[in-house]
């Protein structure tokens, strides 16, 4: 027992070292400090737990789901929760629990694809506009304004209507409508640091503008963007669900949560579980991302340190 207790203590001491002895250790010490700060926030830990469960469910869906999500059993349609179908069945007799578990994959795919497309684009545009200023700033920010002038869901609807329904197009439409706020945030952060002495020092060393943006500006703006992405995840899930609900996102029989709610709409008064169960799933996952985002903001926001 003592040996086992000693080793983590040694690792912990190594991770809390005031004077690290390598680049790797310096980075890990910073990470560990952030993790300890995050761990002190119980709500953020709940959010993290929800997201870890979502990840696990998405990864293991085929093995943990009791039924095939597409298997129809018309003899058992609209069974109430309980028994063989813990969350009941829908109008075609498909097991709702299995559909929700498989739907986690779709939700996660949408969220990850949007985040991967949107954050770097917004970050790049915002940092370039903020750092160079002048006409570069004007052009990039007016383009941003154009996209911000439309309500997001309406613009996404227009894009999906033009591109045709489907998950890929829904992701594309959400991505196109979601980047402007990130550009705004990145630009605002860049404006506050571009006049600082450490940027001047980098210029005096002969660093190129792109080198300064990548090496000096982005590391300081990225934390705000990460926080915003996490907080926006909930919104992205809701827009994806909204597009699914309107029949413009995932197409039947795909078990996308929004589409499932749309399918259960007809029975909402008599067979409430058909629409409610996927609704609860959307609600819990959105909550998880929001809680984690709040916690990350406390840890990452340089202004609060």
């Amino acid at each position: 027992m003592t040996a086992a207790a000693n080793r983590p203590a040694g690792l912990r001491a190594w991770l809390r070292e005031e004077a690290p002895s390598s680049r790797l250790q310096a980075n890990l010490v910073q990470l560990y400090a952030g993790w300890r700060a995050l761990r002190r926030n119980p709500l953020a830990m709940i959010g993290l737990a929800i997201i870890l469960v979502l990840l696990a469910v998405a990864a293991l869906a085929p093995w943990i789901a009791p039924f095939d999500p597409l298997h129809q059993d018309l003899a058992n349609r609209l069974t109430p929760p309980g028994g063989a179908h813990p969350l009941g069945t829908d109008d075609l007799g498909r097991d709702i629990l299995s559909r929700i578990l498989h739907g986690a994959r779709i939700t996660l795919t949408i969220v990850v694809l949007v985040a991967v497309a949107v954050a770097p684009l917004g970050l790049a545009i915002g940092c370039l506009a903020g750092y160079f200023g002048g006409w570069v700033d004007s052009v990039l920010m007016r383009i941003t304004d154009v996209f911000m002038a439309f309500p997001r869901l309406i613009l996404a609807l227009a894009f999906v209507a033009a591109l045709g329904p489907g998950i890929e197009n829904a992701v594309l439409a959400i991505a196109i409508t979601n980047w402007p706020p990130y550009a705004r945030i990145a630009r605002a952060e860049t404006l506050t640091i571009r006049r600082s002495d450490f940027i001047a020092a980098a210029r005096l060393q002969g660093a190129s503008s792109l080198g300064i943006i990548w090496g000096h500006v982005v590391p300081l703006t990225i934390s705000s963007v990460i926080v915003r992405v996490t907080l926006d995840m909930a919104g992205i899930i809701l827009i994806a669900a909204g597009l699914g609900f309107l029949g413009l996102g995932a197409q039947p029989p795909s078990p996308e949560w929004g589409a499932m709610i749309a399918g259960g709409r007809k029975y909402i008064l008599d067979q409430w579980w058909v629409a409610t169960m996927p609704g609860i799933a959307i609600c819990v996952v959105s909550l998880g991302f929001n809680l984690l985002g709040d916690g990350l903001r406390d840890v990452l926001d340089p202004k609060q340190r």
Partner: protein, 257 residues
């Protein structure tokens, strides 16, 4: 080493134009240490930023090491001339380790042997190797300023521009940093151009100085003249009195501008 002729720097345009520097000329010889002295807003830091290339909007002539300089500077220029800033809390990137801060100039100029150079730079400014992987927020003001000096010197420049390098530090730390700068200058034959409002610092560090007021140089003198109190311009005399500390007599004699 540094030659400035009829330097004019303005901010804004039209009626809002503020002429921060009005026709400043001076020369700093090789290996010399020259000070620009004056009150806040006298334009002394603006002169420094124009020479360093950080402010490209100026007119007149600036030559460094005999090479006339335009608004854009070459990589060789940056290797040749470095600057230490006033505020050590603002001049180090908050998310970069000391190691990264020092490695970057080596990488930009492709000098190679980064490890050896960083170790040497840290030793030169009196910081142990234990500081190498720390972040600026783990360092005191004096230690940060040492890192900033190490960053400036790791390129082995011949000219160092010093923008009030000690005015943000405690008095006890100020002396350490000034001693460090003096030692490094003696070891490497550096040329210093120092901006300060502190005449005691000038006395310790410089052979010659120019007094600036309202964007113009009102008097150029040697440090010896300054020590003996041989001033020609009334503003210099006033600055000298003020530097001896606050007294009722000195305060009464201040000429309100």
């Amino acid at each position: 080493m540094i030659e400035v002729r009829d330097l004019e720097v303005g901010f804004g345009t039209g009626n809002d134009l503020i002429r921060a520097v009005r026709g400043v000329s001076f020369r700093v010889g090789e290996g010399e240490s020259f000070a620009l002295v004056g009150e806040s807003g006298s334009g002394k830091s603006t002169v420094l930023r124009a020479i360093s290339g950080l402010n490209p909007d100026w007119s007149g002539a600036i030559a460094v090491a005999g090479e006339p300089q335009g608004p854009r500077r070459s990589r060789a220029f940056h290797k040749h001339l470095q600057m230490v800033f006033q505020d050590p809390y603002g001049s180090l990137h908050p998310r970069h380790t000391v190691d990264r801060i020092l490695a970057e100039p080596v990488a930009i100029h492709r000098l190679g042997e980064a490890d050896r150079r960083i170790e040497r730079a840290l030793a030169d400014v009196g910081l142990g190797q234990g500081f190498r992987y720390r972040y600026p927020h783990q360092l005191s003001g004096g230690q940060r300023q040492r890192v900033a000096i190490a960053r400036a010197l790791i390129l082995e420049p011949r000219v160092l521009l010093l923008d009030e390098p000690t005015s943000a530090l405690d008095v006890s730390v100020q002396a350490e940093i000034l001693n460090l700068l003096r030692r490094l200058r003696a070891e490497r034959g550096l040329t210093f151009l120092l901006v300060t409002h502190n005449l005691a610092v000038v006395n310790q560090m410089c052979e010659r100085l120019a007094v600036m007021k309202g964007g113009e140089i009102v008097e150029e003198m040697t440090a010896g003249d300054l020590r003996e109190g041989r001033t020609r311009h009334p503003y210099t005399a006033q600055l000298l009195r003020a530097s001896r500390g606050y007294s009722r007599a000195a305060a009464a004699a201040v000429l309100d501008a």
